[in-house]
Subunit: 339 residues, 2 copies
C-alpha cells in the first residue's frame, strides 16, 4: 500500500463547465455548457463572479444527472482566491457537506480524486468536485488589477475564467475513474512567478515517473496523457525532463493550457492556467470523448504551483504538485446510449 | 448513506504539538511538546515561522511513533495563510504525498477526518494531518501587523501560535476515531470579522443537531463535547442556540479557545482561535486523557469562518462550517501500557 497507486471504482456521473468570453472565443468554443462573454455572471465584483460560476457549474451538473443537492453526500471544492472564498460562497446555497481544498491549479484533480475515493470506499454514495479560477480576480490578487494594463512576461500564462463541476459515484455509465496517484510537493528552485510552467513541470515528471514505475505501463498504453496547465513552456520542459528518464510522452501528450486558447490570435503567451483550466477542458472536451469511446485510456494530471505573493516577495521558490487520475472509457456494455 | 455519519475504524497513532510563548504561558503550559517563547522558531519571517512549526510538529509525531516519512502514505494539511503556504513550505522536506486543505479554523478536524477516512477505507496504511496558525502572520494578513498596536474589539479572538500533527492508521493503541460527520457551510448573516464566534456557532449547532438526530445519542452520552475555537462569545451562543432546540450541552461542553489562555491574565478578549487552537489543545490535552481512559467518549468539532479580508470589504457575511469527529478511548485490552 505504501504510497502506491490507489485503485478506485467510481464513474463520472455528470460534468458541467462554465467559462468566460475569452474561453468561448477559443478553439473549444462549442464544448462548454455556459458562457458569459462579459465574465461577470451578473455580479458586481470579480470574486462574486467566480463564486457564481461555481454555483452555476454545479447546478448544470445536477441538471444533467437528474440529481438534487440532497442526493450528493459531499462536495470537494477549491479555487485560487485567498481563503478559497470562490468555493465557500459559491456553493453555500446547496447545503451539501463541504470539504474545502487548496492545491493551486492541481485542485481539479485533487477534488475529483477525493470525491472518487469517498465513493469508491462506500463513505459517500455520490460526491461532487467543483473548482474555478477567474482571470480578473486572479490578476488583481496575484499581480495587478487588469485595468492597470501591466506588461506580461513571455513565459506568463493566462488565468482561465472558468469553473468545472463533476459528480462522481458508482452508478451510471460515464467515464470510469480507476486509479489515482496523489502528488508529492516538489521544489526545484524556480522563483519566477511568471514562469509557473517551469516550476510545475518537475512535479508532473515526479508523479508520472512514479506512476509508470509502479504500474509497469508506458506512454504507449494511453491514448492521451493530459496535463492541467503547464502551458507551452512547462509542457516542453516536462517532455524534455521525461526524455532524460527514457520516457517519451510527446506523441500522446496534450496540455489543457495549450488547448483552451488559440496562441496565434488570443495573445495568451505561454497558454492557459488556473484551477478552471484543467477543470473545464477535461469536463467539456476530454470526458465526452471517453464517454463515447473515442478515447479509452487517459492519464490526467493537474499541476499546481503552491506559492503566494507574500512567499515570492520573501524570496522563496515555488513548491509544486501534480495529482494523477487514470480515466477509462465506460465498459462497452454500459456505452450503448452512445453507439 | 445519505449525508449520514461516516463510520470509521482508525486510531491516532501519534500526535504532537508545537506552540509559541503566549500559549506556553497559558493554563496548558506543561502539555505541549515544543515551544519557542519568541514565536519565531529560528526564522526571519512570521510566515516561515509558521511553516517551521508544522515541520517540527510532524517531526515530533514521527519520532513519538517511531515512523519515518516513508511510512506515511499521505498528509492532509492546511493553515490560514493566503494560498496555504504555511503547509506547502512546512511539509516540503518530507516528500509525503500531499493534499492541501482549506477549512479555515475547521481544518484540524477536516484533515484528521480525511486522513482517518483514507486509512479506514484501506486507501492508505497511515496518513498524517497537520495544521497551524501563527498570531503574527494572521494579524498581518487579516487585520494589521502587530507592530501597529491596533485596538481589539471585545468579541475578537486571539489567533493561536501553534501547530498540531496527527498520524492515524489502523494500528496502535491510541484514541480511536470511530465516527465523522462532515460539516455543511452555514451563513447566518454575521459580517463582523471581529466576532467570528457568533458566525461559527450556528455551524456548530447545525452539525451537532444533525449528529444527535441521526445517532439517537444525547449530550449525556459523552464525557466531553469539545468545540475548536468558538471562544467565550461563540460558546455561549452555541449553548443558547442548542437550548432552543431542547439540547443542553452545558455540562459537558468545553472549547479549545477558552482552555488555551487564562482570560484573567492574558488579555485575549474572547479566547483563542486559528487552526492551531483546536489542533494543539486536542493533541496536547484531550487525546492523552482519552489514551489513558480518563475520558471515554469525546465529540470534537472544529469550527471555521471561511471569509477573506476581500469578501468582508465587499460587504459579504461569513460562511462558517463545523466538522465533527467522535473520538473514543482505546479498548481496555489495548490500554495496558497505561494501566
Amino acid at each position: 500500500m505504501k504510497r502506491s497507486i490507489i485503485k478506485l471504482k467510481s464513474n463520472v456521473i455528470a460534468a458541467a463547465t462554465v467559462v468566460g468570453g475569452k474561453e468561448h472565443e477559443g478553439p473549444l468554443s462549442g464544448f462548454f455548457d455556459l458562457c458569459d462573454p462579459e465574465d461577470s455572471f451578473g455580479q458586481d465584483t470579480w470574486e462574486k463572479s467566480e463564486s457564481e460560476m461555481q454555483r452555476r457549474a454545479l447546478a448544470v451538473a445536477m441538471k444533467k444527472s437528474g440529481l438534487a443537492a440532497e442526493d450528493i453526500d459531499a462536495v470537494f471544492a477549491g479555487d485560487l482566491l485567498n481563503q478559497c472564498v470562490g468555493s465557500a460562497y459559491g456553493l453555500l446555497d446547496y447545503g451539501i457537506p463541504y470539504f474545502g481544498l487548496y492545491g493551486a491549479c492541481s485542485t481539479s484533480a485533487e477534488s475529483i480524486m477525493l470525491a472518487a475515493t469517498l465513493t469508491s470506499g462506500g463513505f459517500a454514495t455520490r460526491a461532487a468536485a467543483v473548482t474555478s479560477s477567474h482571470n480578473c480576480s486572479a490578476e488583481r490578487q496575484f499581480r495587478t488589477p487588469t485595468e492597470y494594463g501591466g506588461q506580461r512576461s513571455p513565459t506568463a500564462q493566462w488565468t482561465v475564467t472558468g469553473a468545472g463541476a463533476y459528480i462522481v459515484g458508482k452508478e451510471g455509465s460515464g467515464a470510469r475513474i480507476t486509479e489515482a496517484l496523489p502528488g508529492i510537493a516538489v521544489d526545484k528552485g524556480i522563483s519566477d512567478a511568471s514562469n509557473m510552467g517551469a516550476a510545475m513541470a518537475p512535479a508532473a515528471m515526479d508523479t508520472l515517473v512514479r506512476y509508470f514505475t509502479e504500474s509497469g505501463r508506458a506512454p504507449r498504453d494511453f491514448d492521451m496523457i493530459l496535463t492541467g496547465d503547464l502551458g507551452y513552456e512547462g509542457s516542453s520542459i516536462l517532455c524534455e525532463l521525461l526524455k532524460n528518464e527514457g520516457i517519451d510522452i510527446s506523441r500522446v501528450h496534450s496540455d489543457c493550457g495549450m488547448m483552451i486558447y488559440n496562441r496565434e490570435t488570443q495573445d495568451v503567451h505561454s497558454g492557459g492556467s488556473g484551477c478552471g483550466c484543467a477543470a473545464t477542458v477535461l469536463g467539456a472536451y476530454v470526458l465526452p470523448k471517453l464517454e463515447r469511446g473515442e478515447l479509452s485510456d487517459v492519464l490526467f494530471l493537474a499541476t499546481g504551483a503552491m506559492m503566494s505573493p507574500a512567499s515570492i516577495q520573501q524570496g522563496l521558490s515555488i513548491p509544486s504538485i501534480a495529482h494523477l487520475l487514470h480515466l477509462e472509457a465506460p465498459k462497452k456494455e454500459d456505452r450503448k446510449l452512445w453507439l
